[in-house]
Symmetry: C2
DNA sequence: CCTTGTACCGACCGATCGTTCGGTTACTCT
DNA sequence: AGAGTAACCGAACGATCGGTCGGTACAAGG
């Protein structure tokens, strides 16, 4: 609920303020009054730039979804051995999560109360499904363990990746996207236990 | 927003209805009117059983937190090699998450808008810290990989575990807590990649 | 029969919700 | 100079918010 000032607003610059507040207070917990205070303009002025609260949400989750689906179109996500493509997608997901942190954060928190939220949930499921197919293919190649169900493994790896939005903060001297992506790939593919000490 | 009926309500039975609705619509997105419809009694009658909306939240997150902290007091979480205690705690966390699914779900979605929510966040951080110490100890024993920071690894494993509330549904013929716990332990400690195919 | 207490209710409270409306200011284009 | 427009504002809209109030129905206990 800090107060910001800009020369003049565009829908995009207003969106960046709104998304920050949405993430701090939750979408439902944020009133247009909160947004106007944070943006430094009056409540009614917000309607000069966007049609309403829900448009802000729609723009935000669209941006996040576009970036995520974009990963699947990249060269290294489309060619090569499935397990390598999967590793690439996991790494890129982490990078996109961090590059578009507030937008992806908002996307991952939608509950489904409005049409916009339900649409976002559906597109998320579609993305998850695409990645699950990649893992399934890698399992078919014999490159990933067969003793954990593909669907379950996908969900758990997604859980690991998506949790980044709950703690990552880009404050200067912290770690970068690359380091986090390395850690996620090493943990997701290699596990916690020291290499060579297999059991269970 | 289905309509339920009970003989008469106690704070506890009312809580179970409220928590269900909170999880469906989000805490902020749930009005007392929503709760009254779901409980099948009038809005004012709710105040006969509890002091208000926030008490329902407080009761719910307290229950979840008590169960989680209870894990750390159990015999197998206190004695033995650190890596074994850690594995036990991870397994029990999954079991508690599933046994108390709606309550833990609500706990994990708290944002910090009210005093109750901030208190819940603080206790969560304390629990996370206790588990992080366990992982640190296991790293000191040389039982877990040293190439991923302890703090980061803790967060990622928590992310994997906590994500269960986003997809697990206890519908009859699905998998049980035991199976999910097995999968989490295998993935968290052993990773996706087939044993013996180490790299990176 | 009468009191007491539990479980509940409809009507209502002031506050706040997302949104609309009728302006005003200031800059650009001709 | 005058017209047009982008950016903004305060005041107010009906709806809904969490919560309060004075009451009723009813069962139990004496």
């Amino acid at each position: 609920m800090t107060t910001a000032r800009r020369d003049t607003y565009t829908p995009e610059t207003l969106l960046s303020v709104a998304v920050r507040v949405f993430n701090e207070r939750g979408y439902d917990g944020t009133s247009m009054e909160h947004l106007s205070k944070a943006a430094g303009i009056s409540k009614s002025s917000i309607y000069h730039h966007v049609s309403g609260k829900e448009e802000l949400l729609r723009r935000a989750v669209s941006r996040a979804l576009d970036e995520l689906f974009g990963i699947l179109d990249e060269e290294q996500a489309r060619t090569g051995r499935a397990v390598e493509r999967l590793e690439y997608v996991v790494r890129r997901m982490v990078e996109v999560l961090i590059a578009e942190l507030p937008y992806v954060t908002l996307l991952l928190r939608v509950r489904g109360n409005t049409v916009t939220e339900r649409w976002a949930l559906e597109r998320r499921r579609e993305f998850d499904h695409r990645v699950a197919e990649l893992l399934k293919e890698a399992a078919g190649d014999g490159d990933v363990r067969a003793d954990v169900e593909v669907r379950l493994a996908t969900r758990l790896v997604f859980g690991m990746i998506n949790s980044i939005v709950e703690w990552y903060r880009p404050d200067g001297r912290g770690m970068g996207a690359r380091e986090v992506a390395d850690a996620v790939v090493q943990l997701a593919f290699g596990g916690l236990r020291k290499a060579g000490a297999a059991r269970g």
